[in-house]
C-alpha cells in the first residue's frame, strides 16, 4: 500500500482529517491522565492498614458529660471491662484514633531536642498494653508495652512518653541502617523517647495528600488519653463473630452506663466500613474518571465511524473506478485502514504533547505525580486500536462497492 | 432582456489560461425563445451559468433586464436569481428530501412571500404542468418526465422574466421530451423569455432563433467553415 496517494487524498479533506486527528489527540490526553488518576486513586484504596481488618470494629463513644481526667480514667476502665464481657469479643483497647480515622493527631519528629527542622512527621497513637494485640499488629522487633508503662493523661496534660513502638516505615526514616530498636527520638517532647518495639505496618490516622511523603509513619505511645468527652474503643472480635460482637457491644456499654452516646451514623463501624468511608473520594474519582474514559472512547470511536462512512459515501464512484481498474476488496480495505492509521498517528503525535501538557498542569496545580511513559504508550495503543476498529465497518462497506459504480453519474 | 458584449471568461490553472468564452456577444430580446447549440466544450454551459448569475465572468459587460450585473455582490446576485430567473436543469435537481409542493416552494421561501400567496402560486404552477394531484409526492415517486415538469413548475412559480434551460430533455425519453418541450413552447407563447442550451438540432429547430457557440464565441452558421465538421462530430459523439 503506497502512502503517497493516501496523503494526497487527505490533503483534499483537510478539515475532516484535522478534526479526527484533533479528536484523537485530545482523547489521548484525557484518557492517559484519567487512567493515571484512576491508578493513583486505586493504589490508595489498597493501602495497607496493618491491622486485622476482618475482625475489627470501632466504637466512637461519647459520655453524657465532660469528665475530669480522674473520672474519665475510671469510666474508660469500666467501659473496657464491660466490653471484655461481651461474647465474641477477644480484645479491647482504648485509643485516641485508628488508621483511616475521622481525624488526625500527628507530631513532628526530631532526632535532637533542639533540632528546628523536623526529620519527619509521625501519626501519634495513644494506646494501652492491649493496643498491639487488639489491632493485630505484627511486632517484628522488640517488645510490646508492659502494663506498668501505661500512663493516664488528660488532653491538655504534659504528655512525655518514655518509650514508643513505631512502624517499620518510621524506623527506616529515622534510622535507615535498620538499627532503630533501642535508639531514641523526640516527638515535640523535651526528653527522648526510646524505641522499644517495631511493628511491620501501621497506617497513619489520615489518608490526606499532605501526608503522602510520610506514608505509613506511625508511633504508638503507652498512654491512655482521658479525652474529656469520651474516646474510641477498638474491639477485636473472635474470628467469625464480628457481627454478633458488633451487635452486642453497644448494648453492653449502655447497660453499664446509659449516659453515653454512640452516633447512629458513625458511632459503630466495622473496619470494612472505616476503610470504605476513608477512601470514598478516591473511589468516586476512579469511578468518574472511568466513566469519562469509557464514554470518551466510545464517542471518539463513533465519530471516526461517522466521518469515515461519510468519506466512503462521497468516494463511491472513485472506489468503483479503482475496482474497475483491478483493485481487490483487500486493496480497498487496506486503503481505508492505512488512511485511518496515518491520521491516528498524526493525532497521537499531537496527543502526546497535549498529554504531557495537561499532566504538567495537573502536577503544578494539584500535586499529581508525573505521568509514567507506560501510560502514554498504553494510551497510544488503545487509540490506534480504537481507530482501526472503528474504521473497519465503513472500510468493509467500501470494499464491497461494485466496479459498476464507476459508470454511474456522481 | 439579456445582453452580453465582449464578454470573456477565463479559467486559470497553475500552468495555463483557458478561455471558456472570448469576445462573446449575444442579445436576447424580451419574449424571445432562443436555442443555444454547439459542440461539447464549446462554452454553452459556461454561457448559461454566467447568464444565470451562477458564476462571474472575467471581462466585458452583461446587462440583465437593463442592469449591469458585473459589479453586484453575492447577495444582490442571489436576489436577482431568485426574482428574475427560472432554472430548468438537465438533471432536474429536485431536492430529494422535499415533496413536490415543498420543492416548488423553495424559491418563494427565499423571496419572503407569505404562506397564502406561496400556496396559491405553487398550486397554480403545478396545475400548469399538470401535477397538482402529485403535490404530496416525493421526487423518487415520480417518473423522469414528471420530475422535469416539477422542476419547470418550480422555475415558473416565481414568475421569472427569464427562463434558462440546460438540456431540459437530455435525461428524458422521446415521448417525455416532447411533452416537456410543448410545455416550454406554451410558456413562451404566454410571454416568457426562454434561453435553452441543447445538443439536439431537432429541439433547437423548435426555437425562434438559434445561436451557435464554437470555441467560446458566437458564430454565424452559414459563414463559418469550422461549424460543419465540429458540429457533426459533436452530434455524432452524443448519439454514439
Amino acid at each position: 500500500m503506497q502512502i503517497q496517494p493516501i496523503l494526497a487524498a487527505l490533503r483534499r479533506h483537510k478539515a475532516g482529517t484535522i478534526l479526527i486527528a484533533l479528536q484523537i489527540a485530545l482523547t489521548l490526553a484525557i484518557v492517559c491522565n484519567a487512567l493515571f488518576i484512576i491508578n493513583q486513586r486505586l493504589s490508595h484504596l489498597s493501602e495497607q492498614s496493618g491491622v486485622d481488618e476482618p475482625n475489627l470494629f470501632v466504637i466512637r463513644n461519647m459520655w453524657g458529660e465532660q469528665y475530669s481526667t480522674q473520672q474519665a480514667v475510671q469510666h474508660i476502665e469500666e467501659d473496657v471491662a464491660a466490653l471484655r464481657q461481651v461474647p465474641g469479643v477477644q480484645d479491647v483497647s482504648a485509643v485516641n484514633n485508628y488508621p483511616f480515622g475521622p481525624s488526625t493527631w500527628d507530631n513532628f519528629i526530631t532526632m535532637k531536642p533542639d533540632q528546628l527542622s523536623p526529620t519527619t512527621d509521625a501519626s501519634f497513637y495513644t494506646g494501652d498494653e492491649n493496643f498491639v494485640r487488639t489491632l493485630g499488629l505484627k511486632l517484628i522487633a522488640g517488645r510490646d508495652f508492659r502494663a506498668d508503662e501505661i500512663q493516664d493523661k488528660g488532653l491538655r496534660d504534659s504528655i512525655v512518653p518514655a518509650v514508643a513502638i513505631i512502624s517499620k516505615a518510621m524506623a527506616d526514616k529515622l534510622y535507615p541502617n535498620g538499627d532503630a530498636l533501642g535508639k531514641t527520638f523526640y516527638a515535640m517532647t523535651s526528653s527522648p523517647i526510646t524505641i522499644v518495639g517495631i511493628v511491620d505496618v501501621l497506617h497513619r490516622q489520615d489518608v490526606s495528600s499532605w501526608s503522602a511523603s510520610y506514608l505509613g509513619e506511625s508511633m504508638i505511645t503507652p498512654i491512655r488519653i482521658a479525652m474529656p468527652w469520651g474516646l474510641t474503643y477498638v474491639v477485636r472480635a473472635k474470628p467469625g463473630q464480628l457481627e454478633e460482637a458488633m451487635h452486642a457491644a453497644p448494648k453492653a456499654l449502655f447497660a453499664e452506663n446509659r449516659m453515653r452516646m454512640i452516633d447512629p451514623k458513625d458511632g459503630l463501624l466495622s473496619f470494612a466500613e472505616v476503610r470504605h468511608r476513608a477512601f470514598e473520594k478516591d473511589r468516586g474519582m476512579a469511578i468518574l474518571m472511568g466513566i469519562i474514559c469509557v464514554v470518551l472512547l466510545a464517542i471518539t470511536g463513533a465519530g471516526i465511524v461517522g466521518l469515515t462512512s461519510f468519506w466512503v459515501g462521497q468516494r463511491r464512484r472513485q472506489i468503483g473506478v479503482r475496482r474497475a481498474l483491478g483493485a481487490t476488496h483487500r486493496d480497498i480495505l487496506h486503503y481505508f485502514m492505512t488512511e485511518n492509521l496515518l491520521i491516528s498517528l498524526g493525532g497521537v503525535a499531537i496527543g502526546v504533547l497535549l498529554t504531557f501538557g495537561l499532566n504538567l498542569w495537573l502536577v503544578t496545580r494539584f500535586t499529581l505525580n508525573l505521568l509514567p511513559v507506560t501510560y502514554v504508550l498504553a494510551g497510544i495503543v488503545i487509540l490506534l486500536l480504537l481507530g482501526q476498529g472503528a474504521v473497519l465497518a465503513p472500510a468493509l462497506r467500501a470494499s464491497r462497492v461494485p466496479p459498476i459504480e464507476a459508470t454511474r453519474p456522481a | 432582456m439579456l445582453k452580453m458584449t465582449h464578454l470573456s471568461k477565463v479559467y486559470r490553472t497553475e500552468v495555463v489560461e483557458t478561455y471558456a468564452l472570448r469576445d462573446f456577444n449575444i442579445d436576447v430580446k424580451e419574449g424571445e425563445f432562443v436555442a443555444v447549440t454547439g459542440p461539447s466544450g464549446s462554452g454553452k454551459t459556461t454561457f448559461l451559468t454566467i447568464a444565470g448569475l451562477l458564476e462571474t465572468f472575467t471581462g466585458g459587460e452583461y446587462h440583465l433586464d437593463n442592469i449591469e450585473v458585473s459589479n453586484l455582490d453575492d447577495n444582490a446576485r442571489s436576489k436577482i436569481r431568485n426574482e428574475k430567473i427560472g432554472f430548468i436543469f438537465q438533471a432536474f435537481n429536485l431536492i430529494p428530501d422535499l415533496n413536490v409542493f415543498d420543492n416548488v416552494e423553495v424559491p418563494l421561501r427565499y423571496r419572503g412571500m407569505k404562506a397564502p400567496e406561496r400556496k396559491e402560486r405553487i398550486m397554480g404552477a403545478l396545475e400548469r404542468v399538470g401535477l397538482a394531484s402529485r403535490a404530496k409526492h416525493y421526487p423518487a415517486e415520480l417518473s423522469g418526465g414528471q420530475q422535469q415538469r416539477v422542476a419547470i413548475a418550480r422555475a415558473l412559480a416565481g414568475s421569472p422574466r427569464l427562463l434558462l434551460a440546460d438540456e431540459p430533455t437530455g435525461n428524458l425519453d422521446t415521448q417525455m421530451a416532447r411533452g416537456v418541450l410543448e410545455l416550454l413552447e406554451e410558456i413562451h407563447r404566454e410571454g416568457a423569455t426562454i434561453v435553452m442550451v441543447t445538443h439536439d438540432p431537432e429541439l433547437a429547430a423548435r426555437a425562434q432563433r438559434n445561436v451557435h457557440i464554437i470555441d467560446g464565441q458566437v458564430v454565424d452558421l452559414a459563414e463559418d467553415p469550422r461549424f460543419h465538421t465540429a458540429y457533426t462530430a459533436a452530434a455524432g459523439q452524443v448519439r454514439g
Partner: protein, 436 residues
Amino acid sequence: MFAYYSQLGLRSLRRNPMLTALMVMAIGFGVAASMITYSVFRAVSGDPIPEKSAQLFMPEIDSWGPQQNEHGEPPGALNYVDAMALLRAHQASRMTLIYQVMQTVLPHEANAVPSASTGYAVTADFFTMFNVTFQYGSGWSTADDDARAADVVITDAFNQRMFGGANSVGQKITLSGHDYRIVGVTRHWDPSPRFYDVWSEAGFDNPPDFYFLLNRALDLHTDNAGRNSCRGRITYNGWDQYLQSNCVWLMPWVELDTAAEVTRYHQFLEAYSADQQRAGRFAWAPNVRLPDVMKWLDVREVVPPESRISLVVALSFFVICLVNTIGLLLAKFMRRAGEIGVRRALGATRHEIYAQYLVEAAAVGLAGGVLGLLLTTAGMSGVGLLFEPEVARLAHLDLSLIGMTLMAAIFATVAAAFYPAWRAAQVQPAWQLKSN
C-alpha cells in the same frame, strides 16, 4: 424564515437517524458530565456570604516565626494570648473569636439518653458580623460577654430536635452537665463552605447545633474539639499552661467596612507584632496577613482538588464531544452539497444557507441538551457515589442548572456548527450545473 429552517433542520435530522443520534449523544454526555461536576464545583466554590464577604477579614499573626511557620505563612489561627490581645484592643468595628466545641445534651425526660451536639464558642459580634437572623429571640450582647453569661443560641434544626420547633427562648438546656439559658433561635443559616471555620475543618461538614459564650466556655475549661496545632517542644501541663502555649486554635474574624479601616487594621497588626518583638515574645519581624473571606477560602484551598480535577476533565470531555460534533456536522452538511447548490441557484443567499444550517445545529443542540438534562438528573442522584458525602449533599439540580444545561448544549453546538455551516455556505451555486 426561522420556522422554515427549523422545519428543514428537523427533516434533515430525521433523515440520518444514526448520525443525528451520535451527535445528540455526544452533546448530551458532554454537557451532562460538565453540569454534574459543575454543580459540585459551584457548591464548593461559591461565596458563602456574598453580601459581606468583602468586609470580613481573618487577621493572621505569625506567632511561630520563620523557622516553624508554614513556608513563611503565619499559622491559620491564633494562640490564646494573641487572640485575647486582639479582642481587647477593640481596633475593628466588630470582632469575634471562634472555636469548635462538642457537648452532650440531656433531654428533660427522666429516662432519656444524652445525644451529641456540636457548636461554637463565639463572642457577641458573631451574629451581627455574619448576618445571622433569628426565628425567636436574638444573640447576646457584649455586656453579656463581659458578664460571662450562661446564654446559648441554638439553631432552627436543633430547636426542632429539642423543642419540636416551638419558641424555646427563655428555656433551660443542659450541655455537658452545665445549664444554659436559650436567648435565641436562629433561622436556617449554613454558609457553605463554613468560611469562619475552614482552618479547622474542610468547610462542608454538618452544621453546628448551637453557639455559646466564649468567655464562659473558657471559664469551664471547655476543650477545643476542632483543630489544634503546636510547634516546638510541648511543655504545657494542664489547662492554664495550655492557654499560654504556642498552640493555635482560636479563629478570629474582624469586620472592616472601608479600605481605610482595612489599612488601619493591618497597621495595627504590624504594630502589635512589633510590640511582641520588642517585648521578646517574638524573635522575628512582624509577619501578618489580613485576607477577606474569598481570599481566605482560596488560601485554605477549600475547593477539594477532586472537584476541580473533575470539572477540568469533564469540560475537556465536552470539548472533545464538540470536536466530534464539528466533524459529524461537516459530514452531514457537505453530504448535501448538491441541495445547497440548487438552493443557491434558486436564489438563496449565503446568509440564508448559513442561517439554515445553524438552526439545524441548534436543533441538535436542543436535543442534546434535553438528553443532557436527563443524564444530569440521573447523574445527580449518583453524585453521592462520586464525591464525599459532605460535598455531594450540597450539589443539587435547580432551575439555573437546568437552564445552564440547555443553554450550554445549544450554544456549544451552534458554535461547533460555525465552521461546517460556513463551509456549506461556500458551496457555489454553479456546482450542480457543472457536474452534469
